[in-house]
């Protein structure tokens, strides 16, 4: 019987046919915990009577939201987690590697056909590798740590078929912001979204990660791209795994199919205070900005920073605004550094920080004051997300962010 890629992943794991709507206790290939939701997860693990985690090899710990520790409370949470990692023999990347989702994928901790959970809603990003990955709360994570398994209601899948060729300075972020505007903030609740079509086949891993990262912004349980040449090439050196076929069957039952053509897609900006508000950049061009943030798990990869640098060219950032650039991981930082882009950004007037979540989480640094406007390549623009609830956050691509950081107002990157 024809099946979706998600149904196939659960079926492979369990060695029997499993279909959307079924509830299964599925074995986990991986679990990720970080400094914000981790302490509670550990607490819950103990409250459940946990003594030894199910399999320390499958768990990854790291700190990224509040690093280096920005308060005594954060420092204490880090200490608590370090102790747990040592006691349990869990690999802890500590504050050293960068944003959890980027690091998990880079380190080969998510691979095609696997089921991976993370105590963070943007865990859905690992779907870019062809894994089924979903964000869970701390109590569910406590359960996962103890048993190495978790209940799942296997989701139906929305097929997002993407065709066409992006215009220059338009890319994956513009696409996902426009898809979010189309599907809506709760249009994919309890469902998975499979991104497919010629445009996706040609897209690099960085772009696929951007797409899958934001599946949760439509309520989705997972975003996924079927593994192909691009995926297997990326897995080389990260994971010893033999390429195999994994995709939805032609006759699989999808919740729905939506088609998108990117050829006419404009740079897209989500306006305050929801993610599903994407409009063509021309609608908001000229809006004054106080701070521009280029980074996060959504858009902090080398490819993103390279595009920002291309837009910047030999220009300087507007000295009246604050430009914060944060590569998503140590690896991405080093690639950016070696390409000479860090120096370029610094000389142009930006602050380049060490890999972390930065202003995206609105709790560490880079907060905005009442009345201020932030333009950000991250994934959420909820009221108060980056500081004051009387501030505003607009979301955009690295290209649009860089163009706007030059002019000091929201700007079409094709015009710089």
């Amino acid at each position: 019987m024809a099946a979706t890629i998600v149904e196939k992943i659960f079926s492979r794991k369990c060695g029997k046919d499993i279909r959307a709507g079924e509830v299964v206790m599925a074995p986990l290939d991986g679990a990720m915990i970080h400094d914000i939701t981790g302490p509670l997860a550990i607490q819950k693990f103990y409250e459940m009577g946990g003594k030894k985690v199910y399999d320390p090899e499958r768990i990854i710990m790291l700190f990224d939201h509040q690093i280096p520790a920005d308060s005594i409370e954060a420092a204490s949470n880090h200490v608590y987690m370090r102790k747990f990692a040592e006691e349990q023999g869990i690999h802890n990347y500590d504050i050293n590697e960068g944003v959890c989702h980027q690091v998990t994928i880079e380190k080969g901790r998510a691979a095609p056909g696997e089921i991976v959970v993370g105590a963070d809603s943007h865990t859905c990003m690992y779907g870019a590798t062809g894994a089924f990955a979903t964000g869970i709360g701390s109590t569910d994570m406590g359960f996962a740590l103890k048993f190495g398994a978790l209940y799942f209601k296997v989701p139906e899948t929305i097929r997002a078929e993407v065709s066409g060729k992006f215009q220059k300075r338009v890319g994956a972020k513009d696409l996902i912001l426009s898809i979010a505007a189309d599907i809506g903030a709760d249009g994919a609740t309890y469902k998975a979204i499979q991104f497919t079509g010629k445009t996706i086949s040609k897209m690099d891993m960085a772009g696929r990660m951007t797409l899958c990262n934001m599946a949760i912004e439509m309520g989705a349980k997972a975003g996924i791209v079927a593994p192909d040449k691009v995926t297997w090439e990326y897995m080389k050196g990260r994971r010893k795994i033999k390429p195999f076929e994994l995709d939805s069957d032609p006759g699989a039952k999808f919740a729905e199919t939506r088609s998108y053509n990117v050829s006419d897609l404009e740079p897209t900006v989500a306006v305050p205070h929801n993610v599903d508000t994407g409009v063509p950049v021309s609608k908001v061009a000229g809006t004054h900005v106080d701070q521009v943030f280029i980074g996060s798990c959504t858009n902090g990869r080398f490819e993103d920073l390279e595009e920002a640098a291309e837009v910047l060219g030999k220009k300087k950032f507007n000295p009246k605004i604050r430009v914060i650039i944060i590569p998503a991981s140590r690896d991405e930082y080093l690639r950016t550094l070696k390409a000479g882009l860090i120096e370029k950004f610094v000389k142009a007037g930006a602050l380049v920080e060490a890999p972390c979540c930065g202003p995206c989480m609105g709790g560490a640094f880079g907060l905005i004051a009442p009345g201020e406007v932030s333009l950000s390549t991250s994934n959420r623009n909820f009221k108060g997300r980056q500081g004051s609830t009387d501030g505003k956050v607009y979301l955009c691509s690295p290209a649009t962010a860089a163009a706007s950081a030059i002019t000091g107002e929201i700007t079409d990157p094709r015009e710089v």
């Binding site: 029997k16 204490s76 406590g142 209940y151 709760d186 309520g219």
Partner: protein, 184 residues
């Protein structure tokens, strides 16, 4: 197992006792995100009572000051969207809120709520319930009583039932030494 199989609401035995009667309504709109419920800068706190002091800070400041034990939150569509932070339902527990009623819930918040002991109740007519009114939740018969009006509520998905019956996932998991996988 069938896709949409549910159990009668009367099977819900989460220990809410008299707390389901005459609950004062705090009304909210659509797409209430977990950043609004508890802003990112308070996530180093793990204690429900301390979290409650900052619930809805900046978006509805009166909530933390005036909320009382047994009050109820009534939201619109997609309640609890965004971050997976369990601090959100914990902040509500600290505030004395044990029931959240909404037209629909975001997936992670729904699951987190059940896990920690906040009962999420889906009511398609939630938007008709006014702020500040007193309502009674009749779980046994499956409706909400607001003055003269009655609004039906949806049954709890069957797979959540065991967790609700146990009083949350911690209690459910406490006595289990291992879990058979790939079974219901």
């Amino acid at each position: 197992m069938a896709a949409k199989k549910t159990v009668p609401v009367k099977k819900v035995v989460m220990d809410l006792g008299p707390k389901t009667k005459n609950m004062r309504v705090w009304k909210f709109g659509d797409d209430i995100d977990t950043d609004a419920i508890i802003p990112g800068r308070f996530l180093t706190i793990n204690n429900p009572d301390e979290l409650a002091k900052h619930a809805f800070e900046g978006t509805r400041d009166e909530f933390a000051k005036k909320v009382q034990e047994g009050d109820v939150i009534v939201g619109g569509r997609n309640f609890g969207c965004g971050s997976s932070r369990e601090h959100a339902p914990l902040a509500l527990i600290g505030a004395g809120v044990r029931v959240v009623i909404a037209k629909s819930f975001a997936r992670i918040f729904f699951r987190n709520s059940v896990n920690v002991g906040v009962l999420p109740v889906v009511c398609p007519d939630a938007d008709k319930i006014a702020d500040g009114t007193k309502i009674t939740l009749n779980i046994r018969e499956g409706f909400i009583e607001a003055g003269e009006r009655r609004y039906p509520i949806e049954p709890v998905p069957v797979f959540m039932q065991g967790i609700i019956d146990a009083g949350g996932l911690v209690e459910y998991a406490k006595n289990l030494r291992e879990i058979p996988v790939c079974t219901r």
